[in-house]
């Protein structure tokens, strides 16, 4: 029997595989394909306080081994989520982590304040890194200073553990991670999507109505892995790695460089059962390597 559980300190997970925000809807969409109880955790789609319209279509453009999206965080808002969706997730054993969004500091705090009332939520993932909202892909995660000030505010308001989700669209990821850690974040998750674009040469128009979007999928895995490695090597708080994970071996790469858990994102679109398959593949790897506990794999990169 392999022990797949991992301990984030503030939260013990059944296994290291979570599903990433924005790729798993609000969880319910996947019930035909996934036994939600068997997931390490569910990070639901980002929530603003109010329902949100999102960007005009086209919102998706495929690229080589990748997907560029500019959804613009269309969603039902915190209230509808708590009143309509959360009760339907009540009996799911996997921890529910809510991805928290805001146009302003006040909105982030209003969402946290509202969500604080609902016991079923295990943690917050602070989304300071969506590239599709503000002009030119700007977001608080682009600078250590704005990351520090927002995380500090959010941490003070949050009655639950706070995971800060970082953007890869920075020169020095370690300094942003350090800012989140110093501001009191309980964990760091990375990476969000890479700012990207695509052009239709026939019409010479951008293939996304938003012009810029965020690249995800296998195309970004090496970049994501490098950033997770850099952050995990420095951070004192747990790191959750993501970016292009399609298989158990992809997930293991992130754990070897130091991630305590991983999030599976774009793979959910292609194979709705990908997350559970990846749990199985990690377990099979442990069995093959005679590793009794998956935690033994974390941070075991050999560099000599």
């Amino acid at each position: 029997m392999i022990d797949l559980s991992v301990d984030l300190g503030f939260l013990k997970l059944r296994n290291p595989v979570l599903v990433a925000s924005g790729t798993f809807g609000y969880g319910l969409e996947f019930r035909p394909f996934v036994n939600l109880n068997r997931l390490g955790g569910i990070v639901v789609k980002g929530l603003y306080f109010e329902p949100r319209e999102g960007n005009p279509p086209p919102r998706l453009a495929e690229s080589a081994s990748g997907l560029i999206n500019a959804i613009g965080l269309q969603g039902i808002g915190a209230r509808a989520f708590c009143e309509k969706v959360l009760p339907r997730l009540a009996r799911v054993k996997a921890p529910i982590i809510v991805n928290v969004c805001g146009e302003t500091d006040e909105e982030y705090l209003a969402v946290i304040d509202y969500l604080n009332r609902y016991d079923r939520i295990a943690a917050y993932e602070l989304n300071i890194s969506c590239p599709n909202i503000r002009a030119g892909g700007r977001c608080p995660a682009l600078s250590p200073d704005s990351t520090h000030s927002l995380v500090k505010l959010a941490k003070a308001a949050a009655r639950r553990p706070l995971i800060t989700k970082l953007s890869p669209n920075v020169t020095d990821i370690v300094s942003v991670a350090r800012a989140a850690e110093e501001a009191g974040s309980d964990a760091i998750s990375l990476v969000n999507t890479l700012l990207a674009m695509a052009v239709d040469v026939e019409t010479r128009r951008p293939r996304l109505a938003n012009v810029l979007g965020g690249l995800s999928g296998p195309a970004i895995k090496p970049v994501a892995l490098r950033m997770v490695y850099q952050v995990a090597s420095q951070a004192r708080i747990p790191v959750i790695g993501m970016g292009g994970i399609m298989t158990g071996r992809d997930a293991l790469e992130f754990m070897i460089v130091g991630a305590r858990a991983v999030e599976v994102g774009t793979a959910n679109f292609i194979d709705p059962g990908a997350s559970i398959r990846i749990v199985g593949e990690i377990e099979a790897f442990c069995r093959e390597k005679k590793t009794g506990r998956v935690e033994e794999i974390i941070g075991t990169l050999v560099t000599d």
């Binding site: 924005g22 790729t23 798993f24 809807g25 969409e29 996947f30 035909p32 394909f33 789609k45 319209e53 999102g54 005009p56 279509p57 086209p58 919102r59 998706l60 453009a61 495929e62 080589a64 081994s65 990748g66 997907l67 999206n69 959804i71 269309q74 969603g75 999928g217 296998p218 399609m246 774009t266 959910n268 679109f269 292609i270 194979d271 709705p272 059962g273």
Partner: protein
């Protein structure tokens, strides 16, 4: 909705850039309805990454058929797949056409398909006929060679009206004007006869064509349903990528084609400048 990781390709037909694949998939075939679609993984390689959506063209006992044209990398790869190979498919997805469960004996339906938009209308026509509705199928394409399903439709005994942009077969011009001409004829003939049921329009094709058909449906005050197309990420409502402007319950917003459609009533669709 279900996943069948190994739907066996049992038959393939090709006509130039068009291709039909018949897939053995008993569990998915059991509940499939006209207007619903499948998400097909064209290969197990990381490029193209996403599944491709295809409306269900026909259901024959344990089989589902898809009919498509080679428009890009994904469909070109799919068209190279052969009988004996398997495909990973999800489905049946979406809500499909709304058709009355009980017999509609004596009813008439106008089915309008542009190019590969004919695909779901074959399944729909057979379903309508089994409920006593007489389908009149309008099939339009660029040229005669873009109407590969014509003989199949005729062999089924459906009334088929054909248009080509260049006049190489049937009505010369777009499908809209042909529909309007036939609709006017049919309405004036039916006014002279005994009372008939309200006809209905069902259409699938490019947005520009559908917008034209919507105008005709409005002018003649005939209810219409349209199967819309969009770039789709997941097909199951998770990615929010495939939205169109839709008005439902008094509210207008971006609505997911995959989950809330792909079929919408004429009155629900807010047409963009197509």
């Amino acid at each position: 909705m279900l996943k069948d990781p190994e739907a066996l390709i049992v038959r393939k037909e090709t006509w130039g850039e068009y291709c039909l694949l018949a897939l053995h998939s008993p569990r998915l075939a059991r509940t499939a309805k006209p207007g619903q679609f499948l998400m097909v993984r064209v290969s197990d390689q990381p490029y193209p990454l996403l599944r491709r959506p295809f409306s269900i063209h026909a259901r024959e006992r344990n089989r589902l058929e898809i009919f498509f044209s080679k428009v890009g990398t994904g469909t070109a790869i799919l068209a190279e797949r052969n009988p004996g190979e398997t495909l990973d498919i999800l489905g049946p997805l979406g809500k499909g056409f709304r058709i009355a469960r009980k017999k509609q004996t004596g009813g008439t339906a106008f089915l309008v398909g542009g190019g590969r938009g004919i695909a779901p209308l074959y399944f729909l026509a057979r379903e309508l006929r089994s409920r006593g509705v007489r389908p009149r199928i309008f099939y339009g394409g660029k040229t005669e060679s873009h109407l590969p399903l014509l003989s199949k439709l005729a062999a089924q005994g459906f009334d088929v009206f054909v248009s080509t942009d260049d006049g190489s077969l049937g009505f010369r011009g777009f499908i809209g004007p042909m529909l309007e001409r036939e609709l006017a004829r049919w309405l004036s003939a039916s006014r002279r006869g005994p009372a008939v049921r309200q006809p209905e329009i069902f259409a699938c094709g490019p947005d520009a064509m559908l917008k034209g058909v919507a105008g005709i449906a409005d002018r003649y005050q005939i209810p219409a349903q349209f199967s819309l197309e969009a770039i789709m990420g997941c097909g199951i409502g998770a990615c929010w990528g495939c939205v169109k402007r839709i008005k439902q319950a008094g509210r207008t917003g971006w609505v997911k084609i995959c989950e809330d459609g792909p079929v919408f009533k004429n009155s629900e669709i807010v047409w963009e400048d197509a």
